[in-house]
Symmetry: C3
């Protein structure tokens, strides 16, 4: 039983979904683990993680529109607005999604479904540097 941990840096420029499946795949492959468990953890409160369809980019556009709509950038709605109109909506959007994912590893690969991609969901205008921790263990 072995484990491996890596801090992944992702630069973002705009609000929206950034696919990180390839970066995570590389980590899993380099760990050389056949069966085990991968954890992805986002170290922020205004960016989150999502597993979503990576085939039709319209899905991402519609998802972003939904989250813009449910937590609008309207400063009249919030007390906390230290860093501008996208500040508090970013916290709400993070609360509605999540900052951690657990994905089993089977035959050396994450068990993602055919249409599943891993996304960093950036909720603030950038540029920003985001840090994601990848942890895997298994044998």
């Amino acid at each position: 039983m072995r484990q491996s941990l890596h801090h992944l840096q992702i630069s973002t420029n705009l609000k929206g979904l950034v696919e990180i499946t390839d970066e995570v795949k590389s980590f899993v492959e380099s760990a050389g683990i056949s069966t085990g468990l991968l954890t992805v953890f986002c170290r922020h409160t205004s960016a989150s993680l999502l597993i979503q369809e990576n085939a039709d980019p319209d899905v991402l556009t519609d998802l972003e529109a939904f989250f813009d709509d449910i937590a609008p950038e309207d400063e009249d709605l919030y007390i906390h607005e230290n860093e501008g109109p996208d500040d508090m909506p970013a916290h709400i959007r993070t609360a509605l999604t999540c900052v951690n994912l657990s994905i089993p590893v089977d035959a050396g690969k994450m068990v993602l479904g055919t249409w599943q991609g891993i996304y960093l969901f950036e909720h603030r205008e950038g540029p920003r540097n985001r840090e994601i921790v990848l942890h895997i263990w298994g044998e």
Copy 2:
């Protein structure tokens, strides 16, 4: 320290919550692990997982109504509608819930609370075949 992994197939016919607690329990029991960690992973972007009350079925009805209401099947709202009116709402409902659960195992059992059941949340009309990966490790 041992681990075990299983691909569970669930058939669904309609949108809604399908309890899978018994199937997951059987897997945990067959693994024969006393203390450890269970991961449940749903390999889809239009079906998700939820831990919710399994006592009063009205809770499930109200939950389903809430998610119907928050992401309505109104094609005017979305660009992505390849597979019909329930397509994009399914992605949104999946994003608002989750596709992975982590449940500690203590004394050979999942540490679910008295009222907690594990549900597959089907967001599309069926019939459909859904695949869930169960992973457990411990000793």
Copy 3:
């Protein structure tokens, strides 16, 4: 490779976010694990877990207002109202957040970001006793 499991009791009096970062930190420190994985699990369907900003308390106020608004305590909206107007909204708020967190441990500490705190999100009026299971493994 070692593991440790603990049942943490938290008393709540009111709806809202209760920070439990210190309690979780104590558990991680007492386990004496350098690299590994922490799981936090909430054994309830009307209380949940959230990782959010622990700097400006206005963030918590705005988050609570958002969840009050998205799932209002209006009994006309729900069938299930066995335990009063905060009953069904509590289930919805739990479904929109989560009951489990997975946090890697690096150099003996959870890899929480600078502004991240761990919260129990109480969705019912109290007083109530809530039970959270902490599980860690690693070496």
